[in-house]
Symmetry: D2
Subunit: 97 residues, 4 copies
């Protein structure tokens, strides 16, 4: 079971995650891409990370944007270390601005 | 510019679109798949239809579900013939239950 | 390390894999789809299986076909149990004809 | 019908296409990515360009590489302006090294 983070731990994690914010009990970021095509490719690329972690985002695509929301259902919809790790993995995707 | 549909036309279109409903000024359907992997593959498959029409959905993926919302921004967020056509194309994807 | 299969074991595996054949030290099948769009969606869907197994195909896409070739590099390019498992997983993708 | 290019025109086109070469009657390039995941995302991204042009590559993926071969079937398997344009589009994908 992934560890539920306390507010201080969440603050510390966000310091290393540009563009990410806390919204209630979730980590959120809206990515903007150059096109729908890039948005879809990002979702495929990111989907592989989600599958590898067996931890999946709630995300909404509208044309060239992808709004990502990370929370841990199995932890009672709290922010856990898994959410931070998935956010970090998304940030490391080389071609994401 | 795609034609804005009146309520009767929307009703008629929905009659041929199993699982789709009207929600305010949008056509909506939530697809449930066997896995996140299938959900992602559906989005890629459907994404090609959206690009071919240059008409894109608002859609949210959570694990094995994809909630699709179709409305036409350029027509003042009304339901148009393009929304019906995209819904029809999604229904024709052979492996969608 | 995945087990290298002997000719009898390969024969037995192929009996349960419609459309698959042995070609030298590989299992091969050419999938034909209705369109390039379906072929690409299949590759994404199948790609998730490959990643989950950490065992990847050699595959070639030309328009609506995907020619898959499975062999195990780490076993000296022999057919192993991993190749059979990946072939079985591809066959189980619900929408593959 | 896309214009068949003469050797001089092919040379000129290749001058602006780093990593691409002529191989008989095709333009070829092998892309190397950081992972299978990136290779697959590239294929999705590039697949949208192919669909938009209705001109498709012959391409082979092996783990983190994608070997692309462009020729025009409808022109008797010659190199045409469409092959050059697709190569240019692939080069413009922002995150392709």
């Amino acid at each position: 079971m992934s560890k539920v983070l306390n507010p201080t731990e969440i603050e510390q994690a966000l310091a290393g995650l540009p563009g990410w914010a806390r919204e209630s009990d979730a980590l959120v970021k809206t990515y903007e891409f150059a096109s729908f095509r890039e948005a879809m490719s990002f979702m495929v690329r990111a989907g592989f990370e989600a599958e590898a972690m067996n931890h999946h985002p709630e995300w909404t695509n509208v044309y060239d944007t992808v709004a990502v929301r990370l929370t841990t259902h199995h932890a009672g919809n709290k922010i856990t270390a898994s959410d931070v790790e998935l956010a970090q993995r998304l940030q490391k995707i080389s071609w994401v601005g």
